[in-house]
Symmetry: C2
DNA sequence: TATACTGCTATAGTTAACTATAACACTATG
DNA sequence: CATAGTGTTATAGTTAACTATAGCAGTATA
């Protein structure tokens, strides 16, 4: 877990996404309590209200439940709901755009599957040519 | 070109990305003029200032040039600059996150990169199991 | 000169995201 | 009761994104 934020999306949403990731990864199990609003706020140096907002999204999605005075707990079935819902969202809304980008950049499956997970540098030296998609030739 | 916007990113940036896509796709060639600020603003029902802001990003990136009274024109070398820069950005910043998501959802990057293009419905029926990453077993 | 295109600036207002600070309400422990 | 942990609400301020509206400045044509 890095302590930094992406400028391309609001913090509260990134926060929500991290919890989702932790549930999917099994780091947080059903019945577990989420780290407290104040703790998270302190750890990430973020306003408690921002954390709360992220957590509330999870409540609204039915993934998490609040017990007053105790904390927030992951509901039973949260993970399978997530697996289904997030898959659908990803395949339907995100992947098409991503795939289009990949093709536009002339990147190959090989290229992407090579270093993939742990890599965060990037050589930008694809195996093909410099002319990726000479298909459309508008007049 | 659809006339709609994504809530996950500011309009001016999406606008910039569309022009970039058109350059990469060869729809807009070097030397060509961009559609005018006012035209785009009218067509997409968006404020001219928002369009201008998107265009200015392109100018700042050195992809586009302004000729007062005439319009904005795509610079020579814009496409190869883009191919290099966007590849690097994608491989270094976006793909690692995307790949992590794919794995979390129990999907395989291979499969997505193979078929995928024209699909936008989403079945949520991956070839593996329903338990994607049972690696971590926190106490 | 006038007309009609360009990019661009100026002014001003709305909304969403985020912030700081404080206090309230509930639960468990002592 | 007090204490210390939860989530939650209230108040108020900053910033970025977007909007509406108007006008300036340059270019080309007539």
């Amino acid at each position: 877990m890095d302590r930094e934020w992406n400028d391309s999306q609001p913090i509260y949403r990134q926060l929500r996404d991290r919890v989702v990731a932790m549930i999917l990864d099994g780091v947080l199990k059903e019945g577990d309590s989420l780290p407290s609003v104040r703790n998270v706020a302190a750890e990430y140096r973020v306003n408690p209200l921002t954390v709360l907002k992220g957590y509330q999204e999870l409540v609204d999605e039915g993934l998490v439940e609040t017990r007053r005075g105790l904390g927030m707990f992951i509901n039973a079935g949260a993970r399978s709901m997530l697996l289904q819902g997030e898959r659908q969202k990803f395949l339907g809304e995100e992947w098409p755009r991503i795939h289009a980008t990949i093709q536009r950049l002339g990147l190959t499956a090989e290229e992407l599957l090579k270093g993939a997970t742990s890599r965060s540098s990037a050589d930008a030296t694809p195996s093909k040519s410099t002319e990726p998609n000479p298909s459309k030739e508008k007049g």
